[in-house]
Amino acid sequence: MPSIRQELEATRTARWYRHASGARRAGAWAERVRDYAALRAILDGRAPDGTVAGAAERTARRREQPPVQLPGLLKLVAEHGHYAGAEPVYRRYRDRQQGQQILRLAGPDPAVRPTAAFLAEARAVTFWPYREGVIEVADAFDMSRAEWAAAYLRALAAWAAEERPLAAYPPAGPPACVLEDMTAIAGAQIRWASSSSAPGHAERLYVLAGDVVQSMLNDASMTPLGAFDTVRDEVRSLLSPPAEPVAEQVLRSAAELSDRMLHAADGDVVVTPEQARRLRSMIGGLSALLEGVGG
């Protein structure tokens, strides 16, 4: 079974990102990076009605990020990026992509307008390094699925804090790649989930990711931990095995551990001395309690 890291490296957006940012397309990629930087600069300096933000507006934003929606966004990007005209920018994000070295992330669907395609790409690309940082640590520490989700959602919150106007631009929310990633993290192959429930879990996790982003936008002082805490309970319940009677869980685990200890191959360390100490301590307390159970 592939690891979560391998699954995350194989998503559609991950493949697109590797292709687009590869050395062979360095010139085309640099133009895109210039577009995203122009977008960031435009959004940072604008009030919700599109006018240049004043001091009062900037003060208010310290508490809550209002959505900023700008007509003719790609034209503004072209102007800010000092392109000769808006056409080269539009061309990159239109559904027809003839002659483009890098195809747009949104694909050829004509229903996705150039501005929406551009915004979706900007969100994914600005979030990408946060995602890479999570993958590096989570994989090194062999995180559980619940830990992966916690790390990912906290990093998403950090992205929303840093890219507040972009995250708030209608329709506000996380980058589209989050749904693919949550599918990998929820895992279609996990033993307690049927193959039909994992996609449902992924969709729900995506909704929760939206809640995390919204928490960051609603309160400028919100921290990634605080934002994740608003959904922690549900994330944990989605990614943990279904509850069974606790006594049964203990019995099952004790039996499994005993089997492994009895039948360990030479050189296998089933229980470390530290784990053995902790177990003895726990079992001692439990035994004292069990003495009080009748029958």
């Binding site: 050395a23 640099a30 990076v33 210039r34 995203y36 930087a37 310290r62 508490r63 000092h82 600005t126 990408w128 390094p129 946060y130 995602r131 890479e132 940082g133 999570v134 590096e136 640590v137 989570a138 090194a140 520490f141 995180m143 830990e147 916690a150 790390a151 906290r154 990093a155 919150a157 950090a158 992205w159 840093e162 309160d219 400028a220 002082s221 919100m222 921290t223 990634p224 931990l225 605080g226 805490d229 608003t230 922690r232 309970d233 944990r236 319940s237 606790v246 530290e274 902790r278 177990l279 301590s281 726990m282 001692g284 307390g285 439990l286 004292a288 309690l289 009080g292």
Partner: protein, 405 residues
Amino acid sequence: MTLESALAAQEQARAAAARLRGATEALNVLGRRSPADQQRASLFAVGLLKDAVADADLSETGLPRPLQAVHQGQAVHQGPAVHQGQAVPQGQAGGTAPRLPAGHPAVLLLARAAMVLHTAGLRICERPWHWDRLARFFDARLPPSDPHLFRLRERAVMSRVDAGDTSPGVVAALTSAVEFHRRAHGEEAYLTSVATTNLALALRQRRGDGDLAASEALAGKAARVRAARYGPEHPLTLAARSLAALCLLLLAEGGREEERRRVAGPLLAEFTAIRAARMRLYGSTAPDTTRSRRHEALALLLLGERERARQALELTLALEAALGGADRAEAAADTRLLLGQVSRALGDMDKALEHAREANRIYGQQNPRGRGARRARRLVAQLTAGRITAVVTAEMPRTRSGALS
């Protein structure tokens, strides 16, 4: 430098910082792992810092030196320096990520995460020194008004509170933190609420005249604000609810019998509700959940149900001993101290002395100048004095009248 190359360098620096932020948030999740994993994560974080930061001696931070093996496992963030947050050309480094100035927010936040993990393995009384050192490192690199630096200093102050320091300077710093966040973010903002609870914690710890009532008022207010904004079972709401209930319990302990009986039932229900919520949030053996069990035992004692309280404390102790770690060692000492008091009340003096001595030993190691250490020493002294009297009473010859000679 052309406009294009300047822009590219700026974007590379931004991406390097973002990658560090992602790694930082993932490392923060490891704070709920075992003590050994936390130490490994701390070394990993220091390795990331070493590779990411330009021109800074990280030994000044109070963080550990990364192990070679950990460091070699990280093949990222090597590259040329970016000074004062500005872009510089990539030069010969071609394609590698740029280094960041030591005062960059992403660096500070990673260093903070590394320190949280590192200090989890240190004695509680040693932690303030490390936090102060880290704060000084960034004091020299950031303006005093920097919000990240301000929060780092708050964390350093709270490490003093954890170690039992509630001196006027500490309380003044926490009071000014509440004002700072109120002005910057508003009365109901997240960080204002966190700062309010920090102040309430310090007042509860200090227990001067009116401190418990003031602490209860602050925590109660924070709990109401948080319940309205984030829901009654948000972890931050639970922390404030728990603190408010604990203050009420401590106030009732010093009150009349009828008052104790009146509040004990509702307080037990509140602590049980908090424990149930924490079990859902963190799991049944997590430190927060276990702490709630100890609070339930306190409420049982207030109700006069000593035997049930003893059982609850024995379970708490078993879990704390099973989990290990410095924080949990001090929690185990708190539980031992309570068990000593309960055992004494139940007439089991041997058990009481055993628990009191063990509490005294742990406090002596972890935090010898804290309030718990003083209470443990006092209990040991009381129990030992009683024991000497008992021995003397049993062994001394009596007069015919039965009076002690």
